[in-house]
């Protein structure tokens, strides 16, 4: 086998530049990118079911329709159930939320007091003066500053999210046909390398997205069990929220940890052991993630050197805000594969010669078929 040269500094610069440009463009069409990504997750999750139905004797298109129909039914049932539960328990949810928000504010106040006592210099800091001390002030600030914006964002996102089942259906039905059409348009000389490129991108995305779903499930289970053993209320919901927040690399895990600590501090304000227990649980799950779960699920797909990952997270956040944070690593992974394979194709003199020869033949001989 001919050894393939590793990407050099120049190639990495191009990869980073294209990643930043893509994120900048994605920010403009984020309403399409997020449903697209969710549809891809749906496709990768449902594809085995479609293949099982094809093995059972259905045609590919019929199997796609059956599976998407089932997905649609399950989603509709889920939405109806959610509305029913929300309508019947809205009052208690409001009380619980208010309780924990107040608990969080008390916790912040206590932490602030403790910090000011230990470090008097902090009293002059603007940060220490900015935290609201009670629920009413916090609610007022929230309504004034964020509520209208949040509602508008939710309204803006609703139609976009309705695209998810449709896009999933389209990818399940015609994804393979589209892939074949794209490959058919590639000149013969670059055919094998293009196949390799598509396979690499497909595998990277599949293992990353499916791995992320498995990781979320494992994290939810571990955190839920740990929090239940510590006696924290709503352990499964908290575990799920923390696991989903962990989709944002580094920052998400810290936010999830703070969220659970606030709940623990509200439930057991006079038992610091429980709060420390929560922190310890988070550290343990983080270690489990890094050394056991990640290699088991996401594997080495889209994993880069930690320095590059952190640098890209900063760049992603600077270029496209929170969306950039979420998208930067998968986009970097795909761009890296595409750029590296294209570089191999374009610098392969034999392939270029073969392409030139085929064009020459095309000019001198009548077309095939």
């Amino acid at each position: 086998m001919r050894s393939e040269p590793q990407p050099g500094v120049m190639t990495w610069c191009v990869i980073i530049l294209i990643t930043c440009l893509s994120l900048y463009l994605f920010e403009w069409v984020i309403w399409l990118v997020v449903p697209g990504l969710l549809a891809l997750v749906g496709y990768y999750c449902l594809q085995p079911l479609v293949q099982a139905l094809v093995r059972a004797g259905l045609k590919h298109r019929t199997a796609g329709k059956v599976v998407t129909g089932l997905l649609f039914l399950v989603t509709m049932l889920g939405v109806v159930l959610l509305f029913y539960v929300a309508a019947t328990r809205a009052a208690s949810w409001q009380a619980v939320t208010a309780h924990y928000v107040q608990g969080g504010l008390d916790f912040l106040e206590k932490t602030k007091g403790a910090l000011e006592e230990k470090l008097p210099l902090l009293k002059k800091s603007a940060l220490m003066g900015s935290t609201p001390t009670n629920l009413d002030t916090a609610s007022e600030q929230f309504v004034d500053k964020y509520l209208a914006k949040l509602l508008l964002q939710m309204l803006h996102w609703l139609p976009a999210l309705l695209l998810v089942p449709y896009l999933t259906y389209f990818i399940l039905q015609d994804g393979n046909r589209l892939k074949k059409q794209v490959i058919r348009s590639v000149p013969n000389a670059f055919f094998e390398k293009t196949m390799l490129l598509i396979d690499r991108v497909d595998r990277s995305l599949q293992s990353y997205l499916i791995g992320l779903m498995k990781l979320t499930f494992l994290d939810t289970a571990c955190l839920g069990l740990g929090l239940w053993l510590l006696g924290i209320s709503h352990p499964l919901l908290l575990g799920l929220m923390a696991a989903v927040l962990a989709w944002l690399p580094y920052i998400g895990s810290v936010t999830g940890g703070v969220l659970v600590t606030i709940v623990a501090a509200t439930d057991y304000p006079k038992e610091p052991a429980t709060i420390y227990g929560c922190v310890l649980l988070f550290v343990c799950v983080r270690l489990l993630d890094d050394f056991v779960f990640l290699p088991m699920t996401v594997g080495r797909s889209l994993r880069f050197h930690p320095v590059l990952s952190v640098l890209m997270l900063f760049l992603g956040a600077a270029v496209a805000g929170p969306a950039g944070l979420l998208l930067v690593l998968p986009v970097l992974g795909v761009v890296a594969v595409v750029v590296e394979t294209l570089r191999q194709i374009l610098t392969d003199e034999r392939l270029r010669m073969r392409y030139r020869q085929a064009r020459q033949l095309q000019r001198t001989t009548p077309e095939v078929g």
């Binding site: 001919r2 094809v54 004797g57 259905l58 058919r184 034999r350 073969r354 095939v368 078929g369």
Partner: protein
């Protein structure tokens, strides 16, 4: 075993599936299995004298000749003698299905040729989800590889035939 949803299928088998049935590599596959396999096959057309792959290229998949004819040119004289060309129904590049090694010969279309390409990575994923299909194809592939090896050994005057 008969597939449980067979009654939902309407009309005759696709013309394409019928054509696939006629290829020696897929002769053991049922229509249902051929339909699953068909999702992975890529059609390519080559002009006369166009190179399909070169000796020394990294092998990524095998090719089945549908129409036309291809010439096999190798720097290894014995290999050249053993399989000088392939016609409709024949396949070449089969070693790439087993490992990512260098191609041992250059394959050129001897006339306008249509081929079907099957890639190792896609075949491996098919093998993982439906071993039945994989085993049937691998059986035919192995038979051909053994046949070609025997022919190759027989063409060597100083080597015993296994």
């Amino acid at each position: 075993m008969k597939a449980p949803f067979n009654f939902l299928r309407v009309g005759a088998e696709d013309h394409r599936i019928e054509n696939l049935k006629g290829l020696s590599l897929f002769k053991r596959l049922t229509s249902r299995e051929l339909r699953e396999l068909d999702e992975l096959l890529h059609e390519r057309s080559y002009q006369k004298d166009e190179v399909i792959f070169d000796e020394g290229d990294t092998g990524l998949g095998l090719y089945i000749v549908v129409t036309g004819r291809v010439k096999i040119v190798s720097s290894h004289a014995a290999l050249q003698r053993a399989a000088p060309e392939c016609g409709p129904g024949d396949f070449f590049g089969e070693l790439a299905m087993f490992e990512e090694s260098q191609r041992t010969a250059r394959v050129v279309a001897a006339e306008p040729t249509q081929v079907l390409a099957l890639f190792r990575t896609e075949f491996v994923s098919l093998l993982e989800r439906d071993r039945g299909i994989g085993v049937k194809i691998l059986f035919e592939l192995t038979r051909t590889v053994i046949g070609r090896s025997r022919k190759l050994l027989a063409s060597q005057p100083h080597l015993p035939t296994v």
